[in-house]
């Protein structure tokens, strides 16, 4: 263990890989100093573990209905979080619902920030009419409220989890393009970009190898802070019946179905609500912690 730490702390790394691992290790140490960020990370890791091992952890089938056990209140042995209007165990549904939430989150992470990053850096680097065209398109997307645009898209494409992801991704890339462009504008006239341009590098190499690494931290921070929003939009679409379709256990849809019994059987809507709240909080705390670690202005100390 001590050997690994010295290897990571080596001031004169002997390979590219060791240098990168060493930097990562220092960032990790800085991240560990922030207790709230660690809580956020713990919640996120827990979410991943929960969704991975949902079949092992869930005491009941999340879809099987049992009308003789409707509305069992929380605290009952066997159904610790209670059951809903069809007698389905809420804890099991939340566990399986975390898979859907994570699936949506991961798909959105893999699409929206990538699109935003490419559009933002290209616009910022080239400037002129390319910048004008790309940024006006971005403005148009920004002008719509996210949920309304997602609703319109789902209405056109039809409800379903893939279409919900597509709608969320299409509505959430513009802020990343904005962030990436702003970051690009601050670095494009720097001496190190001038130096690599002077060495004969083409635009693709400069954008990919030199500008994107500088934009990446702000985009990653933005992504983790937006994850809560993505979960909420997915839940919102589910709540309106336009996202995941029943009987799949999706948290937003679970709240929606529990709304009818909110006063007498409060737990049906409250439990998935708490799940959304905790996971959103976890992503926000994680994002705050990452900002402290990744911010280029504080990094490198």
């Amino acid at each position: 263990m001590a050997g690994v730490a010295t290897w990571l702390r080596e001031p004169n790394p002997t390979s590219r890989w060791q240098a990168r691992a060493g930097q990562g290790y220092l960032s990790w140490l800085r991240f560990c100093r922030n207790p709230l960020a660690m809580i956020g990370l713990a919640i996120t890791v827990l979410l991943v573990l929960m969704s991975l091992f949902a079949p092992l952890l869930a005491p009941h089938d999340p879809i099987a209905q049992d009308l003789t056990h409707r509305f069992i209140p929380p605290g009952t042995p066997g159904n610790w979080l209670g059951t809903d209007d069809f007698g389905r165990d809420i804890w099991s549904r939340i566990l399986f619902g975390s898979r859907i939430t994570l699936y949506i989150v991961v798909l959105v992470i893999l699409t929206a920030p990538v699109v935003g990053l490419i559009i933002g850096t290209v616009a910022g680097y080239f400037g002129g009419w390319i910048d004008q065209v790309l940024m006006r398109i971005t403005d148009i997307f920004l002008a719509f409220p996210k949920l309304i645009l997602a609703l319109a898209l789902v209405a056109v494409l039809g409800p379903g989890i893939e279409n919900a992801v597509l709608a969320i991704a299409l509505t959430s890339w513009p802020p990343y393009a904005r962030v990436a462009r702003a970051e690009t504008l601050t670095v494009r006239n720097s001496d190190y970009i001038a130096a690599v341009r002077l060495q004969g590098a083409g635009a693709a190499r400069i954008i990919w190898g030199h500008i994107m690494p500088m934009c990446l931290p702000s985009v990653i921070i933005r992504v983790t802070l937006d994850m809560a929003g993505v979960i909420l939009i997915a839940a919102g679409l589910g709540f309106l019946g336009l996202g995941v379709q029943p009987p799949l256990p999706e948290w937003g849809m679970m709240i929606s179905s529990g709304r009818k019994f909110l006063f007498d059987q409060w737990w049906v809507a409250t439990m998935p609500g708490l799940a959304i709240f905790i996971v959103s909080l976890g992503f926000n705390l994680l994002g705050d912690g990452l900002r402290d670690v990744l911010d280029p202005r504080s990094a490198g100390r």
């Binding site: 240098a19 001496d191 001038a194 341009r197 002077l198 060495q199 004969g200 190499r205």
Partner: protein, 248 residues
């Protein structure tokens, strides 16, 4: 090696014309070291930037080895002319290792044998090869400037443009860096075009000097003029007097 004819550079800023350089001509022989001196805003750095394509050429012509430069400059130009920037804290990519900084020009030009060339480049500028995988923030200012010099020499150019290469460094490191540059010029037969506001630095490095003020050439001096203090213009004399005590 470098000929500049009647060069002007005009920038458009906020609907105003800024004449950064007006009608400057100079001619630098191969293996010569030429200095541009002047106060801030005299247009000396703009001339360097115009040569390497970072500032537009509004009027006049720049020729390298007899050929007019192309816009954009192109790869052949990169292999002939390289530049060392003023601030070593800003001229190295903060997220690239020294290894990446030095091997990038080789990758761009499809030159192989990267490992050996990077190691030799580090040795040539007097840095330990164990620094190869460090990041810029793990080096001092002087060490960073050595990396920047090594990077400029990776493509084995004939001409090196030096934009106040030592003004961001403290005095003792300044002398080391200047000595390194002189040694490299001798070993490789480089042509230097150097900019400085400090006549003492220029005096240490250059065979001939052009004094500039407000974007225009004031007077061209050679070594003998500096030694004998035979400037024709008052401005060159005042510039000389300001740094005379440090030149001996």
């Amino acid at each position: 090696m470098i000929e500049i004819d009647n060069l002007s550079v005009i920038f458009h800023a906020n609907h105003r014309l800024v004449r950064a350089v007006e009608g400057v001509s100079l001619s630098i022989a191969a293996r010569e070291s030429f200095g541009l001196v002047g106060e801030s805003g005299s247009g000396k750095s703009t001339i360097l930037r115009a040569v390497c394509g970072l500032a537009p050429i509004t009027g006049g012509q720049i020729r390298i080895a007899g050929e007019p430069v192309l816009t954009p400059r192109g790869r052949a130009f990169s292999r002939r002319v390289q530049m060392v920037f003023q601030d070593p804290y800003a001229s190295l990519h903060p997220r690239h290792t020294i290894d990446r900084v030095l091997s990038e020009p080789l990758a761009i030009h499809g030159i192989g044998d990267t490992d050996r060339k990077v190691m030799r480049a580090l040795e040539d500028v007097g840095l330990p090869t164990s620094f190869r995988f460090r990041y810029p923030h793990q080096l001092s200012g002087g060490q960073r400037q050595r990396v920047a010099i090594a990077r400029a020499l990776m493509l084995e150019p004939a001409v090196l443009l030096l934009d106040e290469p030592t003004s961001a460094l403290d005095a003792s490191v300044q002398a080391e860096t200047l000595n390194l540059l002189s040694r490299l010029r001798e070993e490789r037969g480089l042509t230097f075009l150097m900019v400085s506001h400090d006549l003492a630095v220029i005096d240490h490095m250059c065979d001939r000097i052009l004094v500039m003020q407000h974007g225009r050439a004031v007077e061209e001096l050679d070594r003998a003029d500096l030694v004998n203090v035979t400037m024709k213009t008052d401005y060159a004399r005042s510039l000389f007097n300001a740094s005379a005590d440090r030149m001996l």
